[in-house]
Amino acid sequence: MSHNAPSPCKCVDLAKLEPVFQQYRKKTGALIPVLQAAQDIYGYLPIEVMESIAENLNVPVSQVYGVVTFYAQFHLEPRGKHIIRSCQGTACHVRGASRILGALKENLNVEPGHTTADLQFTLETVACIGCCSLAPVIMVGENAHARLKPSGIAKILDGYRD
């Protein structure tokens, strides 16, 4: 399946990080919260941002990169306007999650972990959302959609498209 990665923006405004540094600079264990705050600002973690964080928290860039790539929550590429998280938990699995994911892949024409070329959607899988009673479930942004059938996916996605 072809995947057109959107080109990352070259103009990262690092000044936006200053308030984050001010809040966390002297605190222990700050790296993860700072990365979370930075990702909230930029939507992902461009290399310039990671370098700036390393410098300001006085840790090697390699450590920043190591933490970023360890946790599923951090992203090195820009992300879509709507994040779709397709639950692959046990309860969803036995109630047909793989076919829901199949329908999402087909509709969006991207593989999990990637973003549509128009930056509308990023498709992700998640181990469990915690709505096991209503399986199979997906989350679009913070909205959970429950008791899904593959045939209902198109309508849900259309509701989010611009």
């Binding site: 222990t28 264990g29 700050a30 790296l31 993860i32 919260p33 990365l35 979370q36 190591g66 933490v67 360890f70 946790y71 599923a72 929550q73 951090f74 998280r85 692959q88 938990g89 046990t90 309860a91 969803c92 699995h93 036995v94 109630r95 076919r99 199949g102 087909e106 998640v126 181990a127 469990c128 959302i129 915690g130 709505c131 096991c132 009673s133 209503l134 399986a135 479930v137 913070e142 909205n143 959970a144 959609h145 429950a146 059938k149 593959p150 045939s151």
Partner: protein, 634 residues
């Protein structure tokens, strides 16, 4: 209730505050209680993620709109509660003082609820629960079997109060345990003894005695100590920690504060999955309210004792549920486990003695302190005391959150509380304990559910996820599913887990794709045993459990895949052939339209045929052929 919260100077002030708060919620317990400040009714709407996904949010809004339109918004309070438990039939609505329980409520029902039940004082029978079509309607939630067979301690408040109002928690006896503990501040040994006497064991899965864990940390040398709440609920199929944090956050906070007091800690962390934004919001709100009231922070209840608790958001790594990995993650590092000893009780967060318990464990503490260890120990079995919360999911009729005394049989949970298997299918197995647990077959349905019996049977209590599967689920595929999960979540530090899970997954992939070979089963067993012994942390050590338990109880399914190239559950698509029954086919062309590879041939009103060379076995045709049911799997 946005009025500023008063700061409580001491335990007596807490008692006074409780007395003042009680009449505000009295109509929920006593139908004859007088209205408080003109409020005659409370409509409780379940606002937990589950009911919310079913449309609970819209129901609450619509109810408020209808009430405002009728000028009743001052007389009737709509309360957004945490998880009520019976998620399957949500959104759930309870009306007080009549104590009427409405299920599967839609926004369109709001007008009728206001008109008939609130104004007319009449029940709305069409929204009552019925076990089946011919069963009598049940008007009160307590009378429904799903609830009647439970024993709710930690879940007592969930679904029955507004988790955003500290006043409601205090009215129900909240923070009394903390006040009692602070009164015994000079004698923490006595508090510790109650926890030890209770026999409470870690609810996160391992089942280590909580009192002993506390004692180790209390006795450890160090001027600075920490308490940690593990809310990194990563086991797919378990959601009790989320529900507790969303539905009764103060209970968890109160438990942690008491633990900190006993251990001698003055700082703590709650490590919550970032996938649980609602739980994080609730917890933040709870901490802020408790601080305003002097129940948290500096000089708690005028005792001179201080304690601060921080919230750390996880960043999406299952291994962080392992306590040493979790501590590394709080420190801002990659969440990689470290070898024990030293145990965190001796050297934990930043090298300081640290006591880490799971959400449900902390939530049990206030009741143990208030009612005593003996009270708690009167429930459960000889070696596993108290109650346990289970998340029922999978192919059950009644899915949701239940709390039962430990030692109850699996049969009672699945068939009496859980209502048996969906669509009249056969029970095949129950998966308990998530990716670290095991699958138990029908022959073990009468096994008492406790820590030790489960381990003996090849499973484990785990965090309490119960996923029930029926005859249509392939057990080899289920084991493969869990291995896919643990393999991708393996942190990669130790070779047995990193390489071992990859090899086991390769073999399982081959078997489910019809490429299994003689000797695969034996190789799986050898690998599984080595990994169990050699892996560094709990994730690796328990990762072979799903394979070993399915091999123990469902070996014939593995053999059928390998020797006969057949999937007995007719689920592994590579081993299936889809065909169309000529006599049943109506020639409607529906399957032709959905087939993604144009493998279905045949003219309108003529029987269709599947071209086996093209068919990718996706099952789309089977889904659309609902009327004729002409598609066969073999």
């Amino acid at each position: 209730m946005t009025t500023a919260l008063p700061r409580l100077a001491n335990a007596a002030a807490l008692n006074d505050f409780q007395k003042q708060a009680l009449p505000k919620i009295a109509i929920r317990h006593d139908p004859k209680a007088p209205p408080y400040e003109g409020v005659t009714h409370h409509i409780m709407v379940c606002f937990d993620t589950g009911c919310h996904a079913s449309g609970g949010g819209a129901v609450a809004l619509e109810l408020e709109k209808e009430l405002a339109a009728k000028g009743l918004d001052k007389k009737v309070k709509v309360v957004r509660t945490g998880c009520h438990g019976f998620c399957e039939i949500g959104p759930l609505v309870t009306v007080y003082p009549q104590d009427l329980f409405y299920i599967r409520v839609k926004p369109e029902d709001a007008a009728e609820i206001v008109e008939k039940t609130i104004i007319g004082g009449q029940p709305l029978e069409r929204l009552f629960y019925k076990l089946n079509e011919n069963a009598p309607a049940v008007s009160k939630w307590k009378d429904i079997e799903f609830y009647a067979l439970q024993n709710r301690i930690t879940l007592r408040n969930c679904g029955h109060m507004d988790p955003g109002e500290i006043e409601e928690y205090i009215a129900g006896g909240g923070y009394q345990a903390l006040a009692k503990a602070l009164g015994m501040k000079s004698n923490p040994e006595a508090l510790l003894n109650e926890v030890k006497k209770s026999g409470l064991r870690g609810r996160g899965g391992g089942g280590f005695p909580t009192g002993i864990k506390w004692e180790l940390c209390r006795k450890a040398a160090g001027d600075k100590k920490y308490v940690v709440c593990n809310a990194d609920e990563g086991d797919p199929g378990a959601f009790m920690d989320r529900s507790l944090l969303e539905g009764d956050p103060h209970r968890v906070l109160e438990g942690m504060l008491i633990g900190a007091l006993v251990i001698g800690a003055d700082e703590g962390y709650v490590y919550v999955r970032a996938e649980y934004p609602g739980a994080i919001r609730r917890l933040r709100q709870a901490i802020s309210q408790a601080e305003q009231m002097g129940l948290y922070g500096n000089n708690i209840l005028g005792s001179g004792w201080n304690c601060t608790i921080h919230i750390k958001e996880g960043a999406g790594a299952f291994v962080c549920g392992e306590e040493t990995a979790l501590l590394r993650s709080i420190e801002g590092e990659r969440g990689i486990p470290t070898a024990r000893p030293p145990f965190p009780a001796i050297s934990g967060l930043w090298g300081k003695p640290t006591n880490n318990n799971n959400v449900e464990t902390w939530a049990n503490i206030p009741d143990i302190i208030l009612n005593g260890g003996d009270w708690f120990a009167s429930r459960g079995t000889e070696k596993s005391k108290g109650t346990k919360v289970f998340a029922l999911a999978g192919k059950l009729n009644h899915t949701g959150l239940v709390e039962v005394p430990i030692g109850i049989t699996m049969r009672k949970i699945i068939f009496d509380i859980g209502g048996g298997i969906q669509n009249g299918k056969q029970f095949k197995a129950v998966q308990i304990g998530g990716p670290s647990g095991g699958c138990l077959p029908a022959s073990l349905l009468d096994l008492p559910v406790d820590y030790d019996s489960l381990v003996e049977a090849g499973a484990m209590m785990g965090s309490g996820g119960l996923v029930v599967v029926d005859e249509d689920t392939c057990m080899v595929d289920l084991a493969r599913f869990f291995l896919t999960f643990t393999q991708s979540e393996s942190c990669g530090k130790c070779t047995p887990c990193r390489e071992g899970t990859t090899r086991m997954l390769d073999i399982l992939n081959n078997i489910t794709q019809g490429k299994g070979q003689k000797g695969d089963i034996e190789l799986l067993e050898t690998l599984a045993r080595s990994i169990k012994q050699a892996a560094l942390c709990g994730l690796g050590q328990t990762s072979p459990n799903p394979i070993l338990s399915t091999l123990r109880y469902f070996r014939s399914e593995y053999e059928a895949h390998i020797n006969d190239r057949k999937c007995p559950a007719r689920s592994c698509s590579a081993l299936l052939t889809f065909t169309i029954d000529k006599d049943k086919c109506l020639g409607c062309c529906a399957c032709q339209k959905v087939c993604p590879v144009e493998a279905i041939e045949g003219d309108k009103k003529e029987p269709h045929v599947i071209n086996q060379d093209k068919c990718i076995k996706c099952g789309s045709c089977e889904d659309v052929c609902r009327k004729a049911k002409a598609i066969n799997r073999s």
